[in-house]
Symmetry: C2
Subunit: 191 residues, 2 copies
DNA sequence: ACAAAACGTTCACTTAAGTTAAGAAATGAA
DNA sequence: TTCATTTCTTAACTTAAGTGAACGTTTTGT
């Protein structure tokens, strides 16, 4: 369980046995059942999440309809907007599957930064990397048609098509479920 | 000139006179003429930018057409993807107007982090904030129609409509210039 | 095992965006 | 100022997405 986390972190810094122990002692590994709501609209939360195993879904409810904007799977992390904003959350986050997550709040972060300053460097670098990745994805979304976006997802995140219902992927790709269905039929016909 | 930077930073930390001097001594304020290319496709760069005055435009050239994905104005910052990726840049960044920018590379960052560790905390927090803002904007883009996006821009970034040509705003809003023109006519008719 | 709910596809119709082209308006350089 | 270029708008036509509904399949809970 810890391995997913430490393997991921080892790309950035080497951790001593003591440092690893300090992390484990924080008791940050939590299990959640499929369907569990991690975050609700209107809620305030200063917890951040890292997916060890499973899949999280971020969605808005707009005019009574769910609009999915993000899916987080193994070795991906996310911090709710409300954490920094200090406003109530605009969206929900739920578990698409039974999941194991690393869960940490600001207080825990602060205490570990004080004990091991290099964790702050780590967090800064990880966040910079996420920001960059986020820009790439946004740019790619803006410059592609729904059909191209679907083809890109087939290449870059083929697992999502298996684990997530089509009608949830639709809004993630910026279209309605019927359009996604049609678009897939169109692609099949072309081949 | 420094004021734009220090006013902005004062929201996050208090800087001593010494710390401010250390920043100014880095000689990071640079002027650029309208049209100057700050970053080219294919280029490697480890510089980050903060806009004191002016406007930057990030664009791709896809099938010979410019696709604009971001505009940066006063008190906004950006780091090129290639800085962390270590791959060649996929896009161009140019000055929409005569601009004054804070320009710093990784080496300068590193030296200032060593002298004043609290700058690293500052950078971590600023980056977290940018990431959160970026997620909000992406979510908003995904869950809106082009018409709604234009109306949102009218509210949130009305200055852009004045400073940036319409045909550049079009791809930023995810449509062709003709569609933006039509969409604006449609809005006027409704009122 | 069964009924209910959720899911995916298809269809007909509507609405909006893409495409191509033409012309008017604004901008900039000589 | 004039001429050329760029920018913006309009229009006619094409293509794709939105909408509402139907239908069969799969999944879920009891």
């Amino acid at each position: 369980m810890e391995n997913t986390l430490f393997d991921y972190l080892s790309k950035y810094i080497k951790l001593t046995h003591n440092e690893k122990k300090a992390i484990i002692d924080l008791d940050i590994f939590k299990q959640f059942k499929k369907g569990t709501l991690i975050l609700r609209k209107g809620q305030f939360s200063d917890y951040g999440y890292f997916v060890i195993k499973g899949c999280l879904r971020c969605y808005y409810i707009i005019d009574g309809n769910e609009k999915n904007t993000a899916f987080y799977t193994e070795a991906e992390s996310f911090e709710p907007v409300c954490k920094i904003d200090k406003k109530a959350s605009e969206y929900f986050v739920s578990c698409v599957e039974d999941s194991i997550l690393v869960v940490a709040n600001s207080e825990m972060e602060k205490s570990i930064f004080e004990k091991f300053p290099k964790f702050e460097t780590l967090c800064r670098i990880l966040t910079e990397e996420l920001l960059i990745k986020s820009k790439s994805e946004f740019d790619n979304f803006k410059t592609s048609s729904p059909e191209q976006r679907y083809l890109t997802m087939l290449q870059k995140r083929p697992d999502l098509i298996q684990r997530v219902p089509q009608h949830q992927l639709a809004s993630f790709l910026g279209v309605k479920p019927q359009s996604l269905s049609r678009l897939r039929a169109r692609i099949l016909k072309k081949k």
